[in-house]
Symmetry: C2
Subunit: 331 residues, 2 copies
């Protein structure tokens, strides 16, 4: 590998000078010298060693991104948002799939420390997050931003208002005249799921309907659990369910598939509303009505905030991005 020394020798200057033109410092270098150095850099194909530089500057221009599972269609948009923004801001991102495993999360967090990432963006944690937060974020000084809901008061968070958005989605169903609305939930530990359930409950109560226990079907945010929820649905004591509020799109799509196989028409026999607005939701038939979460923007914004922190700027503890009810063909 060609080093700064080689360049210096080739341009007949000191490495100090080479470093100066490299860093475009305000310390001036004569135009001729600069030209010569630039030429040498080009001719030799010199790329400054980021490790050597980082060792000195004590920063890596690298951030760590912890997501739970890239296979879940919610995450690619997050990743893309983070990455686009990172690239614009001069950062590079290390991707970590934690698979909701505390072990794997810890392992990655340690790698991040050793690699001296400048910051960490953490998403989709839930129970893992709580556990890790106290052990890690409390005792470390790596800048961190959480996408979702942070349980730690001190960590900046980028989120949407899940309670309110769920409320609006259910309110819409209620206004259409639905009185018996089932909800399919996310995993128990998920703070997101808890909030969405809360919004569902509030909306029903607000409209004078007492939510029944059997209307709440446990899911886990995956297609399969939405599909299976429908099997159990038939068992819901005697009453005819007229609408389903699935707490994410994958489950809504799973439910629609099961409904179709049972010969039930959506939305004629039963209305379905999802949550997230993943790309897939406009590809299915009927197209899925859902709550649009600005997923890409969540990613972008969190990276922006992280870079603000790293630049020493003040940032707000909580940034809430707006959601929007997107009505299509399933309600």
């Amino acid at each position: 590998m060609v080093t700064i020394k080689d360049v210096a020798k080739h341009a007949k200057v000191s490495i100090t000078t080479v470093s100066r033109v490299l860093n475009k410092t305000e310390h001036s270098v004569s135009p001729e010298t600069k030209e010569r150095v630039l030429n040498s850099i080009r001719e030799l194909g010199f790329y400054p060693n980021a490790m050597a530089r980082g060792l000195h500057l004590n920063r890596t221009k690298t951030i760590g991104l912890i997501i739970q599972d890239i296979s879940n269609p919610y995450y690619p948009s997050i990743v893309r948002g983070v990455e686009d923004s990172a690239q614009e801001l001069g950062y590079t991102v290390i991707l970590a799939n934690a698979y909701r495993s505390r072990d794997r999360t810890t392992k990655y967090l340690n790698v991040f420390r050793e690699k001296r990432v400048d910051g960490i963006i953490f998403t989709g944690g839930g129970v893992v997050k709580d556990a890790v937060e106290e052990n890690f974020f409390e005792h470390t000084h790596i800048a961190t931003v959480v996408i979702g809901k942070s349980c730690n008061v001190k960590i900046p968070t980028v989120q949407v208002n899940n309670v309110q958005a769920a409320w609006e989605a259910c309110e819409h169903l209620l206004k259409l005249g639905h009185k018996r609305i089932v909800t399919i939930t996310g995993p128990e530990e998920s703070t997101t799921a808890i909030d969405r359930l809360e919004g569902y409950n509030q909306a029903l109560i607000h409209h004078g309907i007492t939510p029944k226990d059997e209307w709440v079907i446990q899911g886990n945010f995956e297609f399969e659990s939405g599909y299976k929820a429908i099997e159990r649905l038939s068992e819901v004591g005697g009453e005819k369910i007229t609408a389903i509020f699935a707490q994410n799109d994958m489950m809504a799509i799973g439910a629609m598939k099961a409904l179709e196989e049972k010969g039930l028409k959506v939305p004629e026999d039963i209305a379905v509303i999802g949550f997230d607005n993943i790309p897939l939701s406009s590809f299915v038939t009927p197209t899925l009505s859902t709550v649009t979460v600005p997923i890409y923007e969540l990613g972008r914004t969190s990276m922006k905030i992280l870079s603000d922190i790293l630049a020493g700027h003040e940032v707000s503890r909580i940034t809430t991005l707006p959601t929007k009810l997107t009505l299509r063909g399933s309600d």
Copy 2:
């Protein structure tokens, strides 16, 4: 940050000794000393600086992964495969979305050089790849593995046999009695698309059918282009098309949606076969018959091969993974 010096002082040994217990070198350290050092490391919360280490060892245990767009459902599986394998092998992965842009690819490749990644996995390049390959891979010594089809004879490649797989898919349609089969292609530059088209042509010819120009509809691997292909389909001179071979699942799903809106039943009125077997393909109605490409394994295998190269092992130039025709409800 606590450094090796702090640990040495705390354990009352030299940094040499600390380094030795850190690296579990064969150079022996007395059990008591080792114990003391380990304790100090734990007490002080020491994490060795990977930059300092890397500077010396001239390796980063980091690899760069270039994909085209994480939003495309094909890529998350690649990423997951690469990442799982990387994590097992002790590597960390930097993710780069190139968006099929040559500029962005070049930019990332330069970042990879500066960060001194140990290796690069390159996927989905097509035309970008050609251009970049000669400029970059020829003149650099970073170990590289290409997923797909490499235009460079020297770069190890992990791929599937697209010609043969497409052949089999079309052969299946032909055996079902279809005589007028349309194909929706990928982008013109895509070597993958070129191979799949080749397989389509060969299969038809083999069965005594001369492929007509108007049976080949240009697509670009995206949902929308599959959807739009169906509009143009009605214009295909007089004849009734009975089957569609979409060169990837997203387009197949787009086509099915358009077909449904036109009131055409799949597979009764028209059969559809896709390619890739992305998760989504089993979620749509009817479920999509398709060619299963071991996407996750492509990722895993390429990382394995990369690490073999880095370990100085011989690797085969081309690794071909098997595909499988997966018949479901659309044919």
